[in-house]
Amino acid sequence: MVKEMDKEFITRGVRRCSTPRFLLWLAPWVGLLLFGAYSAGLCLVKGLNQTNMDNRYAFGLWIFVDLTIIALGAGAFFTGFLLYILKFKELKAVINSAVVIGVVCYSGAMAALMVDVGQPLRAWFTFWYPNVHSMLTEVTFCISCYLVVLLIEYLPIVLKNRKLREIPAFLVFEFELHKLIYVLAGVGTFLSFFHQGSLGGLYGVLRGRPFAFREGIFVWPSTFFLFILSAAAVGPSFLILTTWLVEKITGKRLAKDRVFQMLARISGILLSVYVLAKTVDTLIWINRTSPSLGFTASQYYDWKPFGTWILFAEIVLCGLVPALILLTPRLRARRAWLIPAAALACCGVALNRYVQTVQTLALPTLSFDKFLSYTPSWQETGTVLGVVAYGVVVYSFSFRYFQIFPEERELKIEVRPQAEEEPALAGRF
């Protein structure tokens, strides 16, 4: 009975594919994960010379990916905040998915960071001898604390597994922990607020890099607030995107349309606020911050290929446009508009992180510097692919064995009539 080997672990009443089929789906991802582990292993054993980073391009693909996935993973804190603190009850339908995405994104980012630093075994020095003035200290503290919080939030989801909850201790602990989850949601919100912000601050404080440097409020540069806003804005968009993707892959309906609409509206509102703030910030930067450091802002965009198009793409194409779509009820009601808009919003934030990390380092600061380019080595790319594969594997496991979408059972009946014309990928999980 290989086919039904793990039946008793699967939530009652949901349809999951057979074990061999699930293993078949996992196989390429596990392969990719192993390749990623090998790549990362090379970097850890042989050193970072395995990468194409260098003294001038001290940060590369990894930091860009870390910043991006942490922004996309912001759905975890923001949904938790809306559900447990502001009591948006509908979001219960996606909170578990948000938590799993959060765990995946944050643990993946942490893993990539551990490979990225030259002496990972000394990472704990940051806790032991913290420089409280460094944005990176704030990031390290908040991200590691938040990862712990996320894992604790993930625990009830795991313990709620049909088989595991037959063990009384697990059942009882899950029950009691779930009652206190709002405390963790609060702590998570606090931590996320600060680390999303300080990730932005990371570059905003770089006085020596006028392209990234921003003025700010108190100790925080404006990017601190922009990062929080943008992360909160795309978190829900990313949830829409992943839920939609899982729906497409599995051929199931997983959340009610109301939930999609609510996420879209939240994302739209925050995104428009972000676009406004970003525009104001950019204008201040062009007209005041950058010139005061002796750098005319227009010069940054004279280095090809980073022309002004990148600014346009970031603010208008991937900011304003999706914001408007998400804010228009008629448009967002249709998947054909909603999904591209959510994807654009996610691209926008990725582009923003790209500009902050990669473009900042590419631009010369000394007059005899060159404009630099950098292509990641296969070891770097492999590590990133490994992180992606890790995310897919963890999410697949969670989706198969845990109750990620509580509304799935309810929605099962609505999808039934189309059963005959299920997509080819149906029943993948």
Binding site: G13, E174, F175, V183
Partner: protein
């Protein structure tokens, strides 16, 4: 991190930053320890079954958590806030006081060909409890429950002397892929175990005398409840992919419903019907 570590300065930034960090640590640790301590307390107080039921009840869909007074049409809509334990419910108490349950005309209700003798009281998890002359209570599956499980593949009964509690596990029945925890309608100590053939599964000596049975359905409540249950069954069957003649067509549930739906996920159907999501 600590004042005695290298490079520590007592500045505003350090105090605020590390203060916030330690606060977070304390809050998270307290939460975890609190949950652990509560779990430990629950375990030692034997509240596992209680919690299991509460947790299950919480996961029931809203429609399944309807108050019994909605079923009878007394109230328009109400979700049960007490996990079907009407003994704690003030609304129920008031209702009972206002409208004492109407005694049914016959001694037995027949609903779509299923028999529901009214000498006993029904639990919403498809068990009944019948007080016996000797002060014990016999517990068995109601007719719908029996038909859902047909001839069980296996029955796991508790040892005599063990305890059962309301909404806790009374016994387990395996049927095809279904593994059903049947909920107990009463609190008490098992004094005898029965079987399918004997018509009951447990004989229980209640802790309290007389036993408080306010949470169980009786008399005129049975029929509307059963109508609702058949609707739910219909829905569950549809959801789980049954394509055979549906009950709504007026079909009478056969003695062994499971065998009529060989392709249906019976575990899911039973889970739905026995209040075990």
């Amino acid at each position: 991190m600590f004042p005695w570590n290298y490079g520590f300065h007592f500045g505003a930034a350090s105090v605020i930053f590390l203060g916030a960090f330690y606060t977070v640590l304390v809050v998270v640790a307290t939460t975890i320890l609190n949950a652990l301590w509560r779990a430990h307390r629950d375990l030692s107080k034997g509240k596992v079954e209680d919690i299991r039921w509460h947790s299950d009840f919480h996961d029931l869909s809203a429609a399944d958590r309807t108050c019994r007074h909605v079923l009878t049409g007394e109230i328009k809509s109400r979700e049960c806030p007490h996990a079907f334990d009407c003994r704690e419910c003030e609304t129920h108490a008031k209702r009972i006081a206002l409208h004492p349950p109407v005694r049914a005309a016959e001694a037995e209700a027949e609903i779509f060909g299923m028999s529901f003798p009214l000498d006993r009281m029904y639990h919403r998890g498809h068990t009944w409890a019948r007080p016996e002359a000797d002060g014990t209570v016999t517990v068995g599956l109601d007719d719908l429950g029996s038909r859902l499980l047909g001839t069980p593949d296996a029955v796991e009964l508790p040892e005599p002397g063990s305890r059962v509690q309301v909404n806790g596990t009374a016994f387990r029945i395996h049927k095809r892929e279904a593994d059903v925890r049947v909920l107990s309608p009463v609190d008490g100590e098992v004094v005898e175990t029965g079987s399918v053939d004997r018509g009951f599964f447990l004989r229980v000596k209640p802790f309290a005398d007389p036993m408080d049975m306010r949470h169980l359905l009786r008399d005129a409540e049975v029929k509307p409840w059963m109508m609702r249950e058949l609707e739910r069954l219909q829905l569950a069957l549809t959801m789980e992919g049954a394509s055979l003649p549906s009950l709504a067509d007026g079909g009478v549930p056969v003695a062994d419903i499971a065998s009529a739906y060989p392709k249906t996920d019976w575990d899911a159907v039973c889970g739905e019907m026995f209040l075990e999501p």
